[in-house]
Amino acid sequence: MEIKIMKNILNRNQDKANEVRAIMKEKNITMINLISSPGSGKTTLLERICERITGHFRTGVIEGDVTTDRDAQRLKRFEIPIVVINTEGGCHLDSHSIYKVLDCFDLDNLDVLFVENVGNLVCPAAFDLGESFRLAIVSVPEGDDKPAKYPMLFRQARAIILNKIDLLHHTNFNLKNFIEDLRKINPSSPLFRVSCTKETGIVEFMEWLGKQIKKN
């Protein structure tokens, strides 16, 4: 016999993500899910953000890491609440892991919660965490074909950050092709060309980010 079901396979994740989103809304917190490959500069971007954001917004960070707490160590100097989720080999964070650590934060004293997802362009895109929006970070040495190869992430992203722009002339990265591919997939989300180590393009990005947090 056949039993009709018609159910989203990820419904458990989706239900919990909706719950997290409701909590964030009630507490008026903007939750931002940072997605990129390993080594594209998520943590360095967070360092640049934290240097500029404290004093304006009460900030917390959830660090998704496969095994270590090295990323969290790099953010320690900002003296903001940071919680590490070790996925123990898992390739993405899910909404249940986020929900479990919300207790570690004083949600009444938080304006923005950054979630640094596990470095991966495929899996994190499939799992809603309950975030307000996603940022896609990609870096020049990875090559200009990333939007074409991973359209889901670039389609969903509220903004795209092209990091390590200072290396552009040392690689065969074709900026024109990158932008053409990106705009076919996502015509409207802003693209920020930054170098987190040289601190170029950060001011423009921070201006935009501040507006998104206030708007939310």
Partner: protein, 113 residues
């Protein structure tokens, strides 16, 4: 790589429904997988079989229907299939295009006795 997580979620719904329906064996699981869900069918198949090993769904056939990405233009209402990652309306050139199918991962039905 998220196929394992997807397979675990899938297996848990399958076994829950099978339990509620008092099935003793699940023979087939019918799912639809959107082309843009970035699932690799072979990996999902392997992950599913690993996950259901030792349960009443062991060796069940996982039948996957792959759903192409369909878009709808919010300006001219034209519906069209996605080609070469181009989300611009092929009819009027609008950027206001919505994905109407092709990202889903759905469990449609199970078969068993």
């Amino acid at each position: 790589m998220h196929e394992l997580g997807v397979a675990e979620n899938l297996a848990s719904i399958v076994l829950e429904v099978a339990g509620n329906e008092k099935l003793t064996k699940v023979t087939k699981v019918n799912v639809s997988i959107g082309e843009m869900s970035q699932i690799v069918p072979d990996l999902l198949e392997t992950a599913f079989q690993v996950t259901v090993a030792g349960t009443i769904a062991e060796n069940a056939i996982l039948e996957m229907e792959i759903i192409p990405v369909k878009l709808k233009c919010m300006d001219c209402n034209k519906e069209f299939e996605l080609h070469e990652n181009n989300f611009i309306c092929e009819s009027c050139g609008s950027q206001m295009v919505e994905i109407i199918s092709g990202t889903e991962m759905f469990l449609k039905s199970i078969e068993g006795e």
